[in-house]
């Protein structure tokens, strides 16, 4: 069953038409990868799914985006609740300048969890889910900036999981990391998809091929091709997809 459905989604930055008629259905408990050269609109599209583009002035969006059947661009939609349901992890690890513990509890506290015991449980559960618990369980009160880049990114994943989202959007989450940290996070994603729906933007085609169930190829704001990952990488139907994955451009 699709948890995300977009229909005729167009996005404009002022005069610039950045996304053209995007129609995508994303299935629950799967990993979907968005690939394409930089500036193709894949990250912009990802950010329409939790309305992070709202923050940018002069952005206009038409068409519909449904998350679990609800049109998220309708008036009266609670953006804060939407973003709680649709978590996000960014390209650069962005822990807050607080302790590891306070990073994880930041979201739950916003959404009304105040019980100390409950917060402790959330911290442990989220850090375990992000495969970070064993490394940090004795230093929870230490600043998050003391962690390595890969640990920081897993902390950010844990922080996103702490508000109990259904969907996890990831915007090139490993591009700033070394290969070992990247491998750890890829492994982690495979486990997380049991519980969450994951949408990941990546500029690394091998990564998309390794981890995703379905892949969407974007070019110049258009969705060129969207299919099961093996099909995209072995038997693409569009010439442009083939050119891209065989490295002819981008």
């Amino acid at each position: 069953m699709s948890i995300i459905e977009t229909r005729n989604l167009n996005l404009y930055y002022g005069q610039h038409h950045a996304l053209l008629d995007i129609n995508v259905d994303i299935e629950e408990n799967s990993i979907t990868a968005f690939i394409g050269p930089s500036g193709c609109g894949k990250s912009t599209f990802l950010r329409t799914l939790n309305r992070m583009n709202d923050m940018i002035p002069n952005v206009k969006i038409t068409g519909t985006v449904k998350v679990a059947g609800e049109d998220i661009y309708q008036s009266g939609v609670d953006v804060e609740i939407l973003r709680k349901r649709v978590g996000m992890v960014f390209q650069q690890p962005n822990p807050f300048p607080k302790s590891i513990y306070d990073n994880i509890t930041f979201g739950p506290k916003l959404h009304g969890v105040t019980n100390r015991h409950e917060l402790d449980e959330i911290v442990e559960k989220s850090l375990k889910a992000a495969a970070l618990w064993d490394e940090v369980k004795d230093v929870l009160k230490k600043p998050a900036y003391g962690l390595s880049g890969g640990q920081q990114q897993r902390l950010c994943i844990a922080r996103a999981l702490a508000v109990n989202p259904q969907i996890l959007l990831m915007d090139e989450p490993t591009s700033a990391l070394d290969p070992i940290s990247t491998a750890k996070i890829e492994e982690l994603l495979d486990e997380l998809k049991e519980t969450y729906t994951i949408v990941i933007v990546t500029h690394n085609m091998q990564q998309a091929a390794r981890i995703s169930d379905k892949t969407a190829f974007f070019l110049n704001g258009e969705l060129v091709e969207y299919d099961a990952t093996p099909v995209i990488f072995q038997n693409p139907s569009d010439k442009r997809t083939e050119d891209y994955i065989t490295g002819r451009f981008g």
Binding site: L82, G87, M88, N94, G107
Partner: protein, 284 residues
């Protein structure tokens, strides 16, 4: 030759500091040759121009502190709120209007603020609270607050603008409202810069002269009632200077002793501000 000339010129700035310290020090030492340091610290009367002379700095300190505290109550919250509005809420076109106006506000000479305090704010206060003296601490300190507000706003805003966008994005993505992002992420992350701006503002308020000279009066007394007249350290120096000051007289020396106190106080605050912003420089 050229480097020599340039180097000598740059020494002028160092010599200025040396000059300030030496001048204040020698005259202050001379002052304490005539006045006991115990009296300076402990007496609660400051009457260098009366026949019955007393040299307790306390009334001037209390006057200065009262002005500074009330000015801070005006400038710190409003300045910080302005900074938050400008860095977190204001659309570009609003910023483009507000920033230059704040710059103008910062560039208004203090004599103009002094006039404003005496002829506008004071009558306003007296119409609300009739028992207020014409010269009163409240009016002067509110206007001192307005004067230092732009500095608090612009330095705090600089600190908040230095907080990277990715931190805000992280909080928004967790479902935080704009207010929560400002209060729980941006302000804590920029805290050292914000506090440094507060400390600098205090220092500026302590050194402010004309507003308090004009609006707060010249009555050196220990009072905690802002509706009464007080004299600050700076206002005392101006009041003595307006008369004929005989070099070598005790009045003349008292200017330097008060100046020394003022210098030490403001320098300490400035150094604290520098220490805070350097020591707690945020790394993102």
């Amino acid at each position: 030759m050229v480097p020599g000339v340039l180097f000598s010129s740059s020494l002028i700035t160092v010599l200025t500091t040396v000059g300030i310290v030496l001048v204040l020090l020698t005259e202050t030492v001379a002052f304490f040759g005539e006045v006991s340091i115990i009296e300076f610290i402990t007496s609660d009367r400051w009457t260098p121009q009366f026949a019955d002379k007393h040299f307790g700095i306390l009334p001037l300190l209390v006057g200065t502190m009262m002005i500074t505290v009330i000015a801070s109550l005006v400038a710190l919250p409003i300045g910080l709120a302005t900074a938050i509005y400008l860095s977190e809420y204001a659309p570009e076109r609003v910023r483009k209007v507000v920033k230059p106006i704040l710059e103008v506000l910062a560039g208004v000479p203090t004599i103009v603020y002094g006039y404003f305090a005496l002829t506008f704010v004071t009558p306003l206060i007296r119409s609300l609270i009739p028992e207020t003296s014409i010269y009163n601490a409240l009016s002067a300190s509110i206007v001192v607050g307005i004067m230092i507000l732009p500095m608090v706003a612009s330095l705090s805003e600089d600190a908040m603008l230095a907080v990277p966008r990715k931190l805000r994005d992280g909080a928004f993505a967790l479902g935080a409202t704009r207010f929560e992002v400002a209060l729980k992420v941006v302000v804590p992350a920029a805290l050292s810069g914000i506090i440094a701006s507060f400390v600098l503002a205090l220092s500026r308020a302590i050194g402010e002269t004309m507003i308090v000279t004009i609006a707060a009066g010249a009555l050196a007394q220990v009072t905690f009632n802002p509706l009464e007249s007080v004299q600050t350290m700076t206002a005392f120096i101006v009041n003595i200077s307006l008369g004929d000051v005989e070099p070598g007289s005790i009045e003349s020396k008292s200017i330097f002793a008060v100046g020394m106190t003022l210098f030490v106080l403001t320098l300490t605050l400035n150094l604290i501000a520098q220490f805070i912003s350097r020591r707690y420089k945020e790394e993102y």
